[in-house]
């Protein structure tokens, strides 16, 4: 095996591909790779140290073939970690190049417009769109090694950027309502304004958290974070963390909705990292409706669990409940 070498040809962009929101000035993210790499021989490799602190870190970047604007559909590269246990969610850690069945086939100048990098061979999408999401590594340290999967020649070149943002360095947290309990893409405002959440039921408020790092981008919640939610009535609610991707990416918090009066209510979500660092999002307001279905026989509301005698004339009616779950007044809504 020949000596590994690093050829600096050009500097590439340092901003992630996924949508960025402005934030306070912070130091630039740590570059792991940020150059044009040439593999004149298949044994050429480019090692880089990786060190992830206690709370874990997100990684993002991009890749293009040679000095071109896009990857092509022919060349592939890979970044492996040593030890491999550094990346429990990915094997290998990073792949670069066309993925059959996932990327759009090249039809013009051998350009692959959707090809870039993917962690573990699959493409974590931001909000299920075409933008690649970041990759996650838990705490640990070791070596990253970039290598070619091609034949090796002077034209075997890839421009690769890979940056590390430590979870502990993230600055703030915001929340938004997703399209559905299993789709983390942001719901549009019209949809949000049409929603009424049902108190004291199995309805859950879905919220997605985003973390900022200066102007370098927004990131999903660190996988190491734990969450809590408190409603404006003073009640702490249960929070279920779901992951619709099946691998690191945008998770959805499903927040219990306790008994409360009908109306606008705010919930405050906090995230805590293993190091103890805590993020608290601004209170998020939703409309909560405190209603339930009652079963009535002969003018009498049946107690729960509802049991009627076969052949009864049963009226199922929706009635607003008070904050203790009792029907309010005597009129049906």
């Amino acid at each position: 095996m020949r000596l590994s070498r690093l050829l600096l040809v050009t500097t590439v962009l340092t901003s992630p591909l996924f949508a960025a929101k402005p934030g306070p000035a912070v130091p630039p993210p740590t570059p792991i790779y940020a150059n044009l790499y040439t593999f004149s021989d298949v044994t050429d490799t480019y090692p880089a140290s990786i060190s992830v602190p206690q709370d874990g870190a997100w990684f993002y970047g991009s890749a293009t073939f040679g000095g071109q604007q896009y990857m092509d559909c022919s060349h592939h590269y890979e970044v492996d970690l040593t030890p491999s246990s550094l990346s429990p969610d990915y094997s290998p850690f990073l792949k670069v190049g066309y993925v059959s069945g996932i990327d759009t086939p090249c039809v013009f100048s051998n350009y692959c417009y959707s090809c870039s990098m993917n962690f573990g061979g699959f493409k974590p999408k931001t909000y299920f769109t075409s933008s690649n999401g970041p990759g996650w590594l838990p705490a640990g340290s070791g070596l990253a090694t970039l290598r070619t999967l091609n034949d090796g020649s002077l034209s075997d070149r890839v421009s690769l950027t890979l940056y590390q943002v430590n979870a502990n360095d993230l600055q703030g947290m915001t929340v938004f309502e997703p399209m559905a309990n299993d789709n983390p893409a942001p719901a549009d405002q019209t949809e949000i304004e049409s929603r009424a959440y049902i108190a004291a039921s199995d309805d859950k408020l879905p919220l997605v958290t985003e973390f900022t790092y200066g102007s370098y981008g927004v990131f999903p919640a660190p996988l190491s974070a734990t969450f809590s939610a408190t409603w404006d009535i003073g009640e702490t609610a249960g929070v279920q963390v779901t992951n619709p991707y099946g691998h690191p990416g945008y998770g959805i918090l499903l927040i219990d909705i306790p008994k409360m009066k009908t109306g606008n209510h705010k919930v405050t979500v906090s995230a805590t990292l293993p190091s103890g660092k805590t993020f608290t999002a601004s209170p998020y307001q939703v409309f909560v409706y405190n209603a339930a279905i009652e079963a009535v026989v002969g003018g009498t509301v049946l107690p729960e669990p509802v049991t009627f005698t076969r052949g009864n004339t049963v009226t199922f009616r929706v009635r607003q409940q008070d904050a203790k779950g009792k029907p309010t007044g005597s009129s049906a809504i």
């Binding site: 929603r195 009424a196 409309f287 409706y289 279905i293 049963v314 199922f316």
Partner: protein, 354 residues
């Protein structure tokens, strides 16, 4: 609430009413006006409604047992050879060995089964007797009325159904009343039953004599029913029962205890075939055989009343058949040694033996 395909259900309704018979989950998508905004519930409101059985008396199945019900069992046509319901002669004892019901040879001393079928017989669809009157007590049908041919008066009122037209159970049919009943009876072989005129009449003493030229021992047609009246009356003026009661049992040195035999037969028929194989067994399998329980719990979807009634009629018919064939129900049998009894040796001058 959105009533789906419910005719006349207003789009902005807040309640849903109807006769309810089936348990289930009611889900409601709620849309409310909050200021200028119409909001829809993020998740459906749900309530699970469980159903409790009606407890009116009609849902408790009526059963009756007629004790020691008939005095002519084993008399008509010389009795029933395949089931060994015959006069207790030695020839009959031997003949019954050729039939599956009594492969070792026996005289059946009692039977339990459906009373009305014994009294009136059971007609088939061609108006022929599937079971001739006063021949056998069979565990079929478990429930009356059986059909319009056999129970023409009762049939129209056997049950009533109603269709639910509103609420969560709309389109369901359910049973609103039922008048099925079980009419059971047990009887003792007439020839050992005190007070039985047919059993005491020597004109009814017969045996089934096999014709070797016929060549098929398992065919009833190969047996000819022959009278033993002259043979018996030439020997004694007593009835078989009285003669047997005076005959000395060589096993005990005492006269045959025909009264005890009679008691044992009755105890077996009522205690086993009625109480154990019918009452107790069905009470333990109410959702399989108890018609009150089953009809009370029905919720049927069908295009019209006729189709729903046809469905229920078949259900009852299948239940009748299943019970009759159930080895722990109507098909249950246990050899119950009732006690010693002499036979008439019709091959040797109609003497009693042993």
């Amino acid at each position: 609430m959105n009533g789906g395909d419910q005719t006349g259900f207003a789009a902005d309704s807040t309640e849903w009413t109807g006769t309810t018979v089936a348990p289930g989950l009611v889900q409601v998508s709620l849309t409310i006006q909050t200021g200028k905004l119409a909001r829809t519930s993020h998740k459906a409101l749900i309530v699970f409604a469980n159903a409790r059985a009606r407890t009116d008396a009609q849902w408790t199945t009526n059963r009756s047992i007629c004790d020691d019900c008939f005095d002519d069992l084993a008399v008509k046509n010389g009795g029933h050879l395949p089931q060994a319901v015959v006069f207790p002669s030695y020839v009959n004892y031997l003949s019954t060995k050729n039939f599956p019901a009594q492969p070792n040879g026996a005289i059946c001393l009692g039977l339990t089964g459906e009373r009305i079928g014994y009294e009136s017989g059971i007609l088939d669809k061609d108006n022929q007797f599937a079971l001739e009157p006063h021949t056998l007590l069979k565990p079929l049908p478990l429930y009356r009325p059986l059909d319009p041919k056999n129970d023409p008066a009762e049939w129209p009122g056997r049950f009533t159904v109603s269709n639910i037209t509103s609420g969560p159970n709309r389109t369901y049919w359910y049973v609103t009343s039922q008048r099925y009943h079980t009419e059971w009876a047990y009887a003792v072989n007439a020839f050992i039953r005190p007070g039985s005129a047919p059993g005491a009449d020597p004109a009814n003493y017969t045996h089934w004599k096999y014709d070797p030229n016929c060549g098929t021992p398992t065919a009833v047609a190969c047996y000819t029913n022959e009278s033993l009246a002259s043979c018996w009356t030439a020997r004694t003026s007593l009835s078989f029962l009285d003669a047997a009661s005076q005959k000395i049992n060589p096993n005990t040195g005492q006269p045959y205890d025909m009264a005890r035999l009679l008691t044992n037969v009755k105890t077996h028929e009522k205690g086993f075939h009625w109480q154990l194989a019918l009452v107790d067994y069905i009470n333990g399998k109410k959702t399989t055989y108890d018609i009150g329980t089953i009809l009370e719990g029905l919720a049927v979807v069908g295009p019209n009343e006729a189709s729903v009634k046809a469905f229920i009629d078949k259900l009852v018919l299948d239940m009748n058949t299943a019970y009759a064939n159930d080895p722990l129900g109507g098909g249950n049998e246990r050899v119950d040694p009732p006690g010693d009894m002499p036979y008439v040796d019709d091959t040797n001058g109609c003497v009693l033996f042993p």
